[in-house]
Amino acid sequence: MPAISFTLSGKTLSCELARKVTKDDLYGRLKKLTIKGDEVLVRGCLTADGRCVPASSISNSRLDPEGSPVDKEEILYDGTSREPLPSSFEEAAPLETAPLKALASFCVTDVYPLEGATLKKGLYSTWFSYRKSPERKEAFVLAKDGDTFLLVGYAKNSPFVGKIVPYELFDAESATGGDEEDEEMNFAMM
């Protein structure tokens, strides 16, 4: 397990980042199968000239305007080039105590247990970056009942509404599944 450090009130806290916990690890998962008799069929593609190729024979690639595979590329963030920042394993991220209700408007994408973390019960805001990157993800560390979790994701800005609803504060697409996952799940949890 990789070692990860945080700073809290000037002190460095070291622990280990355990493997990500997904719902599949807790409840299992549903796998969609296409069968004929007992044989599980493989997905393939029919090309315009009638050939059938396996799906694995198609790869994603990045090409430049001349059609050449991209070897070295420059990434612009809002039109400007940025240097990658150290990852969470190279730089200790600061922890700041946060109210528990901050979790009510936080969408979690990844959950990592932190082993060996000696934190007081509570919620702490921080950042996380698995790799060197110009962008760091928002995160919370939640210490509860002996277990400590790193919750990585993004916060939403949910406003208080009065008589007049400020629709400009909401996404135009609304709840059409932007945060939806494709996978099904088992509801053993409830």
Partner: protein, 227 residues
């Protein structure tokens, strides 16, 4: 497109807009480029050929490249010109097939097979989403992993009073309410046709001057370690 939720609480039901709050931090616009210009993401044919590795001998591999098909390698795979097909072990396209789903345990072993179910959205159904049991807000926030946050808002004065009253009650009791679909109000919520089912919790806060915040928190996972 606005999603509507049909919500019932204490015998009163209302159809209300369900909004998606914006992210606190706007994600930057990312552009990739080389000295020749902007980078395009494309799909290309690689040289992979589907072969049964067990049927290959060391001589086959040494004398040729049976796992490669170079005839189309490197050409663009235009999604508009490709159709999905299902093939058997012999490489033959099968036309009469059955679509099922296998339930896998956490260790990956298969538990059962059953016909595939297509879920339909149920938040704006004839049967309203029921506001069920209350549970302490701190317990809910530390026991579940919330994957999505949506906000219920009103369209008229009646809706405002209904939602603000509910938000005030939740805040006063320091609780969230469990939401459920279906006749008994114990089914998970599905926001879009074909979407994932989520357990949902109603979180409420109110503030001065008649403002309120009523959030639907969607979860598909408990916050705990695997067994």
């Amino acid at each position: 497109m606005t999603t509507t939720i049909h919500l019932e609480y204490e015998g009163k039901a209302a159809r209300l807009p369900l909004q998606s709050p914006k992210r606190s931090k706007v994600a930057p616009a990312i552009q990739r480029r080389t000295t020749a210009g902007a980078v395009n993401n494309v799909r290309i044919f690689n040289a992979a050929r589907r072969v049964d590795l067990k049927s290959l001998s060391t001589e086959d591999v040494a004398s040729g490249d049976p796992e490669l098909d170079l005839s189309m390698a490197g050409t663009l795979a235009d999604p508009d010109l490709l159709s999905t097909a299902f093939v058997d072990k012999a490489g033959t396209v099968v036309r009469d097939f059955e679509e099922i789903e296998a339930v896998l345990k956490p260790d990956g072993t298969e538990k059962e097979r059953r016909p595939r179910t297509d879920r339909t959205a149920n938040v704006n159904d004839v049967r309203p989403i029921k506001v069920g049991k209350f549970m302490p807000v701190d317990e809910a926030l530390t026991s579940f992993v919330f994957r999505g946050v949506y906000q219920v808002v009103h369209e008229d004065g009646l809706g405002h009073d209904f939602l603000r009253g509910l938000a005030e009650k939740l805040e006063k009791e320091k609780s969230v309410a469990v939401l459920g679909a279906g006749q008994k109000g114990n089914q998970p919520l599905v926001l879009v046709d074909g979407g994932s089912p989520y357990r949902a919790f109603l979180y409420g806060e109110s503030a001065k001057e008649g403002t309120y915040r009523l959030l639907i928190l969607l979860s598909n996972q408990e916050l705990k370690l695997p067994a």
